[in-house]
């Protein structure tokens, strides 16, 4: 039996065809770091600007016509609807080409895909966000959603790390969260520089030092695979059960809808059953990889 039912997911197909992209225009570009940019998009189709909605944690397939498609998390919050944001690290062929695009350029967009975060799992709980590098972009949507509905949740911790101060993304968000009294914001870097006065240390180690209480809590983890792999054991040590650990995964994808085959972990497809999983769902496969 298939674990997910996509019939309830919001669908915005172009001409009824799930593979046909909508045309979106780049409205603004924010330079996050030396290798990461956040693109602000809007639909060319005015009706879609009104109608399009998604869940935090869902992703979309972005494409440059003639170059190809790749999946990216929608990093803006569904509570802020005037445009869509997506943060892209310059790392492969398509992302390099995206970084050469300017404001006004058009791209293809199809989505939203994936399950997103189950908000009812978090409501009334303390939420601990653990993110590394560009991984924060996949949690940012949920973080803003939680902030915009702050009364529904308990304590809120954000532990965010990057390789160096120059690799920290969303600095403008970090500053806002830092000054927000309802958030315990901890920023760390693997290696500081001469100007860095903040914390130094790998994310899993810092998490162990901060030692959030597991009672009535959910930990949401996203970052490079190596960080995720070292973070789960720390959470287990702190007393979190596998059901209390949530992550959002990234795999090579082509279709985004559970057909093309490559993003599976066992019988689960990251695009169809994920990208959000509890550790309980994937731990049997993650030890020996997949």
């Amino acid at each position: 039996m298939i674990n997910v039912d996509v019939s309830q997911r919001r669908k915005f197909f172009a001409h009824g065809n799930v593979y046909l992209p909508h045309v979106v225009t780049i409205e603004k570009i924010v330079e996050e770091t030396y290798d990461t940019k956040t693109f602000y998009f809007n639909f060319k189709d005015k009706r879609l600007r009104e109608e399009f909605t998604f869940e935090p944690g869902q992703f979309a397939l972005f494409s440059i016509f003639g170059m190809g498609e790749a999946p990216f998390a929608i990093s803006s919050s569904p509570t802020r609807r005037d445009h869509l944001e997506c943060s892209v690290r310059q790392i492969g062929r398509l992302t390099n080409a995206m970084h050469r695009l300017g404001v006004g350029a058009e791209m293809g967009f199809r989505g939203p895909y994936g399950n997103g975060f189950k908000l009812d799992l978090f409501e009334g709980k303390n939420v601990i966000f653990v993110a590394g590098g560009i991984g924060l972009s996949a949690l940012r949507s949920l973080i803003w959603d939680v902030i915009d509905n702050r009364e529904k949740y308990g304590r809120m911790d954000i532990i965010y790390g990057a390789r160096s101060p120059a690799d920290l993304c969303f600095k403008y968000d970090l500053d806002t969260w830092e000054t927000n009294e309802a958030i315990n914001m901890i920023t760390t870097v693997d290696r500081g520089d001469e100007n860095w006065t903040g914390r130094v240390g790998f994310v899993p180690q810092v998490l162990e030092q901060v030692a959030p209480e597991p009672n009535d809590a959910v930990a949401v983890v996203c970052g490079p695979p190596i960080m995720i792999r070292f973070t789960f054991p720390v959470l287990e040590k702190l007393g979190f059960s596998p059901e209390q650990m949530v992550t959002t995964l990234e795999k090579r994808m082509k279709c985004g809808i559970g057909k093309c085959g490559r993003c599976n972990i066992g019988n689960l497809y990251v695009c169809r059953d994920g990208p959000v999983f509890t550790y309980a769902q994937i731990k049997n496969f993650i030890s020996g990889e997949y």
Partner: protein
């Protein structure tokens, strides 16, 4: 079945000509020494003498090696996309084997589940499968171990049984019955014909000698998922050439790419294979860079993961992956020798 009809083999050409009116008829054909299904040329019926399944499975009729998904062009007001024209004719696949028909039913599940795949399903809709039972299975065939058989008619519209100079025609579905009802020149069968057909079926079934034991196969695979030594041993000779996946009637993995020149182009999809390291490669990591993980993925997808999702093993025992493998990799050998959990 008293209502069954028959046709003399030399009249097959006439029959196909008639069917070619309402359908586009595809038959087994040979091109560059490789057999595959191709549009009937209106003359050649030599495939009637092959008695063997094609090298390339008829999944190509609905899921071609490469197909355009849409075209795009850049104009002054930006990009425009256009879907390919959908004037697909209704396809009649003549001479499909029971295993390949079952394989299509498996692809149907994969392409229908969740988000529907419009390209595959539009071709499958209204297609008709006229199967030719296998009187001469290969040594490498093991359909009987997977609930099928050389004359399994579960997934076909019409089943043809070779009873010598003639083909006995069994109507299976309503669509098949309707087609036969409006087909001219068919003769009624005699009791002798029916007895002969029964005999042919039985003796053909007995020719499928290769067996696998599918009992508890999912559990067995789960138990040895982490057994790196086992998977390394069974994948040692694999060349990662991917031929087993390309020729597999139930493999449906694909890649999506763009092609463009100046201001216009197309997005197309093409077959891909879990045997290739780049299939899962990302800029920073590759979960299946090692060969044993890819071989494990292929075996487990068919016998563990797909059955978890759809309650059916995604293998029909056609034996192509055994026959066509350049290094004689043999999935039945692996499945019959899974390590018992210590």
């Amino acid at each position: 079945m008293a209502g069954n009809k028959k046709i003399n083999k030399r009249d097959i050409g006439k029959l196909l000509n008639e069917w070619n009116q309402g359908f586009t008829v595809f038959v087994p054909s040979r091109e560059d020494k490789v057999t595959a299904f191709a549009k009937w040329d209106g003359v050649n019926i030599s495939f009637m003498e092959w008695h063997r399944n094609t090298v390339i499975p008829p999944k190509t009729n609905f899921f071609p090696l490469m197909e355009e998904m849409f075209s795009f062009r850049e104009e002054e007001d930006g990009y425009h996309t256009e879907l390919p024209s959908s004037d697909k004719h209704k396809q009649l696949i003549f001479g499909i084997r029971p295993c390949d028909a079952k394989a299509l039913s498996i692809l149907d599940m994969a392409f229908k589940e969740g988000y529907e795949d419009p390209y595959y399903l539009s071709g499958r809709k209204d297609s008709l499968l006229v199967a030719l039972g296998c009187t001469n299975p290969y040594d490498s065939c093991f359909c009987a171990s997977l609930g099928g058989g050389p004359f399994d008619s579960t997934y076909v519209d019409i089943m043809l049984i070779d009873i010598g100079d003639e083909l006995l025609i069994e109507e299976v579905t309503n669509a098949g019955r309707e087609l036969i009802a409006r087909t001219a020149g068919l003769e009624k069968v005699t009791e002798v014909d029916e007895a002969r057909a029964k005999e042919v079926k039985k003796s053909s079934y007995n020719k499928v000698t290769r067996k696998i034991n599918t009992e508890g196969i999912q559990k067995k695979l789960q138990a040895c998922f982490e057994d790196k030594d086992f998977w390394e041993k069974v994948s040692a000779k694999c060349l990662s050439c991917g031929i087993c996946t390309f020729l597999c009637p139930t493999c449906y993995c694909f890649d999506i790419n763009d092609d463009s020149f100046k201001k216009q182009g197309a997005r197309f999809r093409s077959w891909d294979s879990c045997a290739f390291p780049i299939y899962t490669r990302m800029p920073m990591e590759n979960p299946r860079s090692e060969k044993w993980r890819r071989v494990r993925q292929r075996v487990c997808h068919k016998y563990e993961f797909f059955p978890t999702d759809f309650d059916v093993i995604a293998c029909v025992g056609c034996g192509r992956c055994i026959r066509q493998c350049p290094v004689n990799w043999d999935i039945t050998e692996i499945l019959n020798n899974l390590p018992a959990k210590a």
